[in-house]
Amino acid sequence: MATQFQIIPPGKFSFKGNIGKNGSRDLNIGEKPQSVRINTLIYCMGDREEEFFNCFEFPPAPVPQEKEEEAVDWKQREGETVDEYITGLYLLAGHCNYGNLKEELIRDCIVVGIRDKKLQRKLQLIEKEDEMACLIKGCNFLLKNIPDEAFAFVRHGNPEYQFQTSEPNIFPYLLLNVGSGVSIVKVESEDKYERIGGTAMGGGTFLGLGSLLTNAKEFDDLLNLAVKGDHRNVDMLVKDIYGGAYSALGLPGDLLASSFGKTVRNSKQATGEAAHIYAEEDIAKSLLHMISNDIGQIACLYANLHGLKKCYFGGYFIRGQPVTMSTITFAMNYWSKGEVQGLFLRHEGYLGAIGAFLKGAEEDDTVKYQWGENYAGSSGLTCSSPPPYGKFATRGRSGTFDMLELDRLDHPLVHLPKLRDPGHYHADTVDLTKDTEARIYWLDCFEEAIDRVAKCAVKSQPNSEDSQERAQQFIIKYRKRLQELREQPFKVAHPVRKSVKVSCVFGISGKSSATDTSCTKTSSRSPMVEGQPHKLAIIFVDNSGADVILGVFPLVKELLNRGTEVILSANSGPALNDITHNELRIVIKRVTELDSDICLAVDENRLTLLESGSASPCLDLSRVDQELAEQCRKADLLIFEGMGRAVHTNLEASFTCESLKLAVLKNKWLANRLGGEAFSVMFKYER
């Protein structure tokens, strides 16, 4: 079976926010005098302590009586995960602006902070040279395993964030790691990569010049200034050079001709501090444009030279800032004439840390794990939990991808081989980022259901003292999230789409949804299959209970009688009332006792069970269990049962073999949309 784990490495080296605080805590020196704490940390940091020290703000030793709340925050809580730890480190590192140093510092912090001695030793062995390896490893990992990791940004597009489907083959690509400077790496395979260039104009230049020319001394402050600024007051544009005539030439007057070209003094401005006549917002904006343009242009030049079409951006410079992303995108489109695509990563700042973590985990355990994003715990495109400490709290708008929770899966997940066009396969039938009507409908459904769900939850835990309180927290948090989605629909990324499906499949809240009694209607079904018998049919099963007993098994029998082998594929993990693989094993044992045909088929291996790899009411065929995928190569019939697997996902999917999608449309709104009535039975057969 496949169980899902959170990444909580040995010793739970999970702490968050301020390394000064947490380092102290994790070295068990939190109660010691400040000097001892500082010295211990410095000792542990080795020769990097000076730079590191500069960005530290050591908190006073915790005094529980007075600062109870804060002290509680410092404690390592149950369920705190590695991403929170990484987030904290990256916040600090990004904050300190150590650029290329950052990966190293983070590794040092892990080494210092980790409690597990075995892992600590291993991590210490990671040499500086492995930074790049970690970076690439992390990037490959995200691109392969995290759905909707990469996106193109199209300013004023609908949607602005265009998520990329994860392709079976991500190589080759160009990775620009934008730290204080920029490293440009060509990645050709999991193990083959090369640093082909770089530029010294990066985040450090932005912050360095910004610190000199404005009052902002923090990266985010400078970004916030830039967003408010107008670079045209500082930059020389075409219209400044060509005068009013530019329109006659078909040239937009706002074309950038010379960055900071207007700040050149001329004889008219005799004396006085030049800097004072330019707004610092405008200067910051011009800086951001200058550097983003430059990075985009240089990315194109390298991509062209090496014949690459995709450039991913890692590092901490971009931070999800639309101005930065649109500037880079514009520059790349302009200089490559659309040939080279600039793609941004939701977890741009995590690449090295994730790579380092995976490297450590691999060395610790030779089993090849597969990881999946935990949507409930991850922030998606929002900053779900701004760190509460002092200046970190100001991070706010930028650096938005700061929460990643990963589940470890026991089996690798791969594309289903029968997909006709795996590179363009989208599991979702409706893209809620684009489909406004559908989005509003489902968000309304959620909103209306919140109280009911919370009530059910409280009722289900009669012995819990704080269930009321937790339910209340849930309501607040959930409402806030829904509001965000209404305001910024592009954030309806994978995690939320998924929950949409969860609820609609089960009619949790569909305005006109029925109870699940409708399922029983299928009991009267007596499937007949005609024509040439199939060799191997794979049935993706849906609900437990009547659905599987009265719906699926008669179909299985029919197929077996025709001489078709059958694989029943159920979810690996639990999701609502879907039958799981393990439950199906129990069920089938009971069925064999009652039905001799089934019994014989099981004995002769004509009827087998394979887990799907999924733990969702929906089915993403780009992420199915490897063994199932292997068996699937021989299949000539795929059957998808239920709304989650056949309607909300895969309705439009096309296969290289025959397929049958069947469901009862339990939701009136959706049924109408598909041109039917509520409780219509849908069969979609394709060959």
């Binding site: 360095g208 050079i241 040239l251 030049a274 514009f330």
Partner: protein, 406 residues
């Protein structure tokens, strides 16, 4: 506002099919005075031909002979005009033969912002009584067209600036020995050891032209008539001077260069060795490579420790390296080995020239060669002058330029 970055358009492939530096001697020479004007974003460049083969009798035939003499005298007897106009005396080409005339070619520049002063001079010297047009190029030819008409009643005859640039380069190079040179004995730690060595420019094709004005234009040149703008950047001389003005409060380009000459950019920039303690051998990065321009300046102590000269130096190094990097990638993408750097950013700027030379050589392992031209910023103006004397007035190129360089 629309915050999208914009660039100078100019990627439209253009082959300069036009008659570049060839002067058709059948065409009657236009009346004196002969000017070529290039109005850039920051600087305006004026090329003036002073005939020395004057046949007094012939000249007396002109009705405005006094005016002509006044102008000639004014331009050649001064080296500065107004507060900001400068004649680059060291660039004067003596005994220059053009269109069967012999004389001196003078090179004059003034800030584009002082155009009104120039116009006053034109008016005072009654230039418009001698000619009704001035052959001009650069964006300012458009911007100031109306002003010329209104103030001095003269027409700016506008020519494509890349065309002017290329024909100017070829014309000067074909006429002047030792115009083109490179820097040898490059040593980043001992710039005094570098020396200028003439380069034979008779068969330079293909080559790249990197014209560094306020912004930068990059062109591939495959023959005298076949060239194309392939790239450019908004980080150019204007960026250097603009940032220097903001950072140091300096007033002029010369001042900025002077400050930079005595500054130390390693106090401002973060080098590879600041991060790795030495070279980053695995990726072939020497410790002295700049890892992050201005990368130290986020730390207040280092900000306090950096002098204005250090900041000026770092600005110069940053802009120069960036231009070098883009130029190098363009050369690689187009399979070109010779890169000619021109533009007024290079004026009195051996630091930038040596840095570019070193960067081209180092990163290409000697495959790329950085070349420079003595009349670095004046080729556009020379090209405009060529148009004046090579084209009959009724045949002037009226086509809208397809490419622009700033």
């Amino acid at each position: 506002m629309d915050s999208k970055p914009k660039f100078i358009n100019g990627n439209t492939p253009t082959t300069g099919s036009e008659n570049g530096s060839d002067i058709d001697s059948d065409i009657a020479a236009p009346p004196m005075p002969w000017f070529g004007l290039d109005i850039g974003g920051t600087l305006t460049k004026l090329v003036y031909f002073e005939p020395t083969d004057i046949n007094t009798a012939e000249e007396e035939g002109y009705k405005e002979v006094e005016t002509l003499r006044t102008i000639r005298h004014y331009l050649t007897s001064n080296t500065a005009y107004g507060k900001t106009g400068i004649r680059d005396v060291h660039l004067t080409i003596k005994q220059f033969e053009i269109h069967q005339r012999v004389g001196n070619l003078h090179f004059i520049r003034f800030p584009t912002n002082d155009m009104h002063i120039f116009l006053q001079m034109v008016e005072a010297k009654k230039l418009s009584s001698l000619a009704d047009t001035i052959c001009s190029t650069g964006g300012g030819a458009f911007k100031f067209e109306q002003e010329f008409k209104d103030v001095v009643n003269m027409r700016l005859e506008k020519y494509d600036e890349l065309n002017c640039l290329i024909s100017g380069i070829h014309y000067i190079d074909s006429k002047i020995p030792n115009e083109c040179y490179y820097w040898s004995n490059l040593d980043p730690f001992n710039s005094e050891a570098c020396e200028k060595v003439p380069f034979d420019f008779r068969d330079p094709y293909p080559y790249l032209v990197v014209n560094i004005g306020s912004g930068v234009s990059i062109l591939t040149v495959h023959s005298r008539h076949k060239f194309q703008r392939v790239s450019g950047t908004s980080l150019g001389g204007g960026t250097f001077l603009g940032l220097c003005c903001l950072l140091t409060g300096c007033q002029t380009f010369e001042e900025a260069i002077e400050m930079a000459a005595s500054g130390d950019s390693t106090k401002v920039d973060k080098l590879v060795r600041d991060i790795y303690g030495g070279d980053y051998a695995r990726f072939g990065l020497p410790g002295s490579t700049v890892a992050s321009s201005f990368g130290h300046m986020n730390i207040s102590e280092k900000r306090d420790a950096a002098t204005k000269n250090d900041l000026a130096r770092s600005t110069l190094v940053t802009i120069t390296n960036n231009i070098g990097s883009i130029a190098r990638m363009c050369a690689l993408n187009h399979g070109i080995e010779r890169i000619v750097f021109v533009g007024n950013f290079l004026r009195v700027n051996p630091i930038a020239m040596k840095l570019l030379s070193y960067a081209m050589e180092y990163w290409s392992k000697g495959a790329l060669k950085a070349l420079f031209l003595e009349h670095e910023g004046y080729f556009g103006a020379v090209g405009a002058l060529m148009k004046l004397i090579s084209t009959k007035s009724d045949q002037k190129d009226k086509s809208e330029p397809s490419q622009f360089e700033v």
